[in-house]
Symmetry: C2
Subunit: 228 residues, 2 copies
DNA sequence: TGAATAACAGAGTGTGACTATGATATAACC
DNA sequence: GGTTATATCATAGTCACACTCTGTTATTCA
């Protein structure tokens, strides 16, 4: 019973060929004939599985996106604090895009800017992932890790926007070579932009008193008001 | 001699109609017939001004992009310091996109992810704008306003990525309503992520000594080493 | 007014998405 | 194993649209 039904297997082959060819030539320049040939099926068969070229395009990211989110969700419970969670989410995004360049190509160059994609099952999953990120930011604000006046939606836009920009840039211009090495600098930068100001306790002052006079009875230290 | 040549005027009309229709229906779904009809010329005439539908698309952003950059460059000399310059550049980007929604639509949904657009005159100008932003970040690092270990390319990606994300989101999902109101929070957040740590001098400590004993001869204050 | 140029309508080509059909192969079930 | 149901196939055909070609008409400019 471990045998996959031949129908599902054929469908899988079409999707894989489509991914490869769409990523290589772009959605518009790729033809159904090429895809069906690469998958070893006839043109007509493609249309028995998918109603249109666009529907085929939209089906491609489903599995991999769902799998990614699941994996990230599995890691979450092991992390403590908004900062580590946020870092993990960003790392997870970038890892997927780094490890599946064709998938990344499709998402960044063909799906992200497609109106119809918004009405898609795969997009639902993408939206869930974005929600997870948002929750994490909100958690940081509530627990006092992040500034109280932080706009969580803006922070999310900054994070997603940066990832998308890096990814698009990589696929069009070949830079940066390695996106994963950008994760920590990027997260550090954003975190230090939204972290609540440190409590005074981490500044310790040592008073070395020299001389012959005895110490005064009390010393009061009054820190200046912090400028916002 | 203030009369524009009828040829240039006709060309202008075609470009304007194309902008409108591309933004409304998307590049693929718009047809040359619609555009020529809207411009009041024949299909054949369109091909006398532009070699292809795509060349027409690429020509649209030329003027407005050049004009925008010039305007921003004109303001620059009046600004002192990397922070104000950076803020001005971001504001200038967002203003253009806010004031020219059709142009923004085209850039974000159809040009930014087009390989051929990279070989375009209009893209040259876009690249110049990105360079200006980069120079400004580098200046901030050199003058000590920003952290020494800041990666200027990463900061630029964060800024451009965020703007693009906000803009794409607005055009696909209608949010945020007003992007200009996001400029200051966004710039503030990024600045506080890259600003060099404040010198100790802004922390002043008042020692109130009470009691009868005389003050000691010297007091040495040794601040703890900052954690990076 | 006359010569050069631009714009035109309309017919024609090629490509590629998608449909329809009937024949053939494959799977499923008794 | 044989029969039925289902998938797959090749093929031919439709349609929309980008783009070309041609000869005619309108505009511009001297």
């Amino acid at each position: 019973m471990s045998k996959i039904s031949p129908k599902a297997e054929r469908r899988e082959r079409i999707i894989e060929s489509a991914l490869k060819i769409f990523a290589e030539k772009g959605f518009q320049d790729a033809t159904i004939s090429e895809i069906s040939k690469a998958a070893g099926v006839s043109d007509a068969t493609v249309y028995e599985y998918f109603n249109s070229k666009e529907e085929l395009l939209f089906t491609i990211p489903e599995d991999i996106t769902v799998e990614t989110i699941r994996e990230t969700e599995r890691v979450m419970p092991f992390l403590r604090g908004a900062e580590s969670k946020l870092r993990a989410i960003v790392q997870s995004y970038v890892t997927i895009y780094e490890q599946n360049p064709e998938y990344a190509n499709l998402i960044m160059l063909h799906l992200k800017t497609n109106r119809n994609f918004l009405r898609t099952r795969a997009f639902e999953v993408v939206r869930d992932a974005a929600r997870m990120l948002l929750e994490c930011i909100k958690e940081g604000i509530e627990t006092g890790t992040f500034r109280k006046n932080t706009d969580p939606y803006l922070v999310r836009s900054i994070i997603l926007g940066t990832i998308e920009h890096l990814c698009t840039r990589k696929h069009l211009q070949g830079q940066p070579e390695n996106m994963l090495s950008q994760v920590d600098p990027m997260v550090d930068l954003i975190l230090s932009g939204i972290r609540a100001p440190q409590e005074q306790q981490n500044i310790s002052i040592h008073l070395h008193m020299t001389g012959t006079a005895k110490a005064p009875e009390t010393i009061t230290i009054v820190p200046e008001e912090r400028k916002p």
